[in-house]
């Protein structure tokens, strides 16, 4: 029994099966990469885990309890957070506010306490600010200083990806789902992000499930690789094992490619 268990999970939109009886286990402390060609169902997998979609069949368990039927924000409370492939920051809020906002689930002060500025709310806000600053410091100098109070839309693409991660971390997750964290980054930035993902485990003790197209990143960070195609698992194992699997090569390059 791992931290995350998917058992026979299926999902269809009308006649289109986008997930077919998928089994997947992610153990505590693992970094697992999900690869596969476009449309293989990788992001759908994340959507199923975070509750955007509810599975038609099968069950999703987190830490031994079924989460298949509960709302997204409750899943986050249990310890699942994610980033988005196409970046969904709170664009018109500042960098710091982006991180503060998602601490909602880990705090308790209500609207009356917040509006009146009762001592409890003030204490909590102080702690939130300290935590936000610590989280942003995790990314070195990139999201520091004057950037705290800049709106998120003013950030560069790479910094937006970093802020997405910081925002997810603010919910104090146990399992972090990263959807193409290195997309659109240059080689230096890609290298940085690879290191960072490692630090998520070593320094913050997170379990990470990552979707990535950049094979250097996949090779660099993952303990285990899962390859998907047409909503089914076509290979699983170490990077070298999956990368040389004929089925995977075929999925990427077309039928007949593996034999050549």
């Amino acid at each position: 029994m791992g931290l995350l268990d998917l058992a026979e999970v299926s999902l269809g939109f009308g006649g289109l099966k986008v997930m077919q009886a998928l089994d997947l286990t992610v153990n505590e402390g693992e970094i697992v990469a999900v690869i596969g060609p476009n449309g293989a169902g990788k992001t759908t997998l994340f959507n199923l885990i975070t509750g955007v979609y509810k599975p038609d069949e099968g069950d999703i368990c987190f830490d031994g309890t079924s989460i298949a039927g509960i709302d997204p924000n409750r899943r986050n409370d249990l310890g699942i957070a994610r980033t988005f492939q196409n970046l969904r920051l709170f664009l018109n809020m500042t960098v710091k506010e982006n991180v503060l906002a998602t601490m909602y689930g880990r705090n308790t002060s209500g609207i009356v306490a917040g509006a009146l500025g009762l001592p409890k709310a003030r204490r909590e806000e102080k702690a939130m600010h300290a935590h936000a600053e610590a989280l942003l410091a995790f990314f070195g100098t990139r999201l520091q200083g004057y950037r705290w109070d800049q709106p998120a839309y003013s950030l560069s693409y790479a910094n937006r990806r970093r802020l997405e991660i910081a925002r997810a971390l603010a919910t104090r997750p146990r399992l972090l789902l990263l959807d193409e964290p290195a997309a659109g980054m240059n080689p230096t930035e890609t290298h940085e992000i690879t290191e960072l993902i490692g630090r998520l485990r070593t320094e913050l003790g997170l379990t990470v499930l990552i979707i990535e197209h950049d094979m250097h990143v996949v090779e660099g960070v993952s303990d285990r690789v899962v390859a998907l195609d047409y909503g089914t698992k076509i290979a699983e194992g170490s990077f070298d094992h999956v990368a040389t699997d004929p089925g995977v090569i075929e999925a990427y390059l077309g039928k007949g490619s593996a034999t050549k």
Binding site: F46, N47, V52, Y53, Q85
Partner: protein, 305 residues
């Protein structure tokens, strides 16, 4: 029993008008994913245009053309006028906002609606004008068989609505423009890249929807004999409710929704309260939103992540 039959007839008449209005909402929503809140005002203006034409042609007492030509003429001119108003609304109130957040066109529509109401208030005044259709067609003519009483006017409303809706359905399914409208509703960008003139499609959509509202306006003036500058608000609200109940964006849905709202209102008037029937319609709306938020014919929307 007699009352029941009468309520069915009333509901059918009312429902036909609501369905025509609802079609305007649904057509526009289908293509632009936009709620045209000013649609009710177009209906109101259509009704006034019909009245104006009627006056120009000598009024109800002594029309200068035979009734058989007069009524279609009223509807045609009102459809044309209302259609143009609709196109103008799209061009000036909505098109500049096509790339804006969703709330912007809604606010703009609210402003347009208010502006149109005030314009008619200025031009016509706060009075209620009457078509005096009883002078055009004898009220007692029509079918009177036992419990069934249905005047010619009401038969006309139901008949015209049915014909218009069938025509629209065929237009959407068969004609090139109809197909372009459906394509645009699925993916405006892709439609544009495939060589469709999206602006033209949107214009036609607004014209069609508004023209239907104009026809509804004239028919409402003929049957209910009350035309005033704020009549569009409640009618628009009901028409909108009809399109939501039927499944917004769907043509069949608009028709079904119109009839449901028409019957709900008619029966509520008959069996519950003559003043609070709106509450019943509201309850129907809430009930639908709770149990079938996409309406009768609506398809569930895919969340994009």
């Amino acid at each position: 029993m007699a009352q029941f039959v009468q309520l069915v007839v009333n509901g059918l008449t009312l429902g036909s008008l609501y369905a025509l209005i609802a079609l305007g909402y649904s057509l526009v929503y289908g293509v632009l994913k936009l709620l045209n809140f000013a649609h009710g005002e177009v209906y109101m203006i259509g009704s006034f245009i019909g009245y104006g034409v009627l006056q120009v042609l000598g009024g109800s007492a002594s029309p200068s053309v035979p009734v058989g030509i007069l009524l279609p003429l009223l509807m045609l001119v009102a459809a044309l006028g209302a259609g143009l108003v609709g196109v103008a609304i799209e061009r000036f109130a909505y098109r500049p906002l096509r790339q804006s957040p969703r709330i912007a066109p809604l606010v703009s529509a609210l402003g347009t609606s208010f502006f149109l109401q005030a314009t008619m208030l200025l031009v016509v005044g706060a009075r209620i004008v009457r078509y005096e259709s009883e002078k055009l067609i004898d009220v007692s003519s029509g079918i009177h068989a036992g419990v069934l009483n249905i005047s010619v006017m009401r038969m006309m409303v139901i008949g015209v609505s049915a014909v218009v809706m069938i025509g629209l359905n065929i237009f959407m399914k068969r004609s090139k423009l109809g197909k372009a409208m459906r394509a645009t509703s699925y993916d405006p960008e892709a439609a544009q890249m495939m060589g469709m003139d999206v602006n033209r499609v949107v214009m036609v959509t607004f014209f069609l929807g508004s023209a239907l509202a104009g026809v509804a306006g004239v028919m409402s003036g003929l049957v209910y004999n009350r035309v005033f500058h704020t009549m569009g608000f409640v009618a628009g609200l009901k028409g909108f409710t009809a399109s939501v109940v039927g499944g917004i964006g769907s043509i069949q849905g608009a028709m079904a929704g119109g009839l449901i709202i028409g019957f709900a209102e008619s029966f509520a008037q008959g069996y519950v309260s003559t003043t609070f029937y709106d509450v019943v319609v509201f309850v129907v709306l809430i009930g639908f939103l709770l149990t079938r938020p996409r309406g009768l014919f609506g398809v569930p929307e895919l969340k994009k992540v």
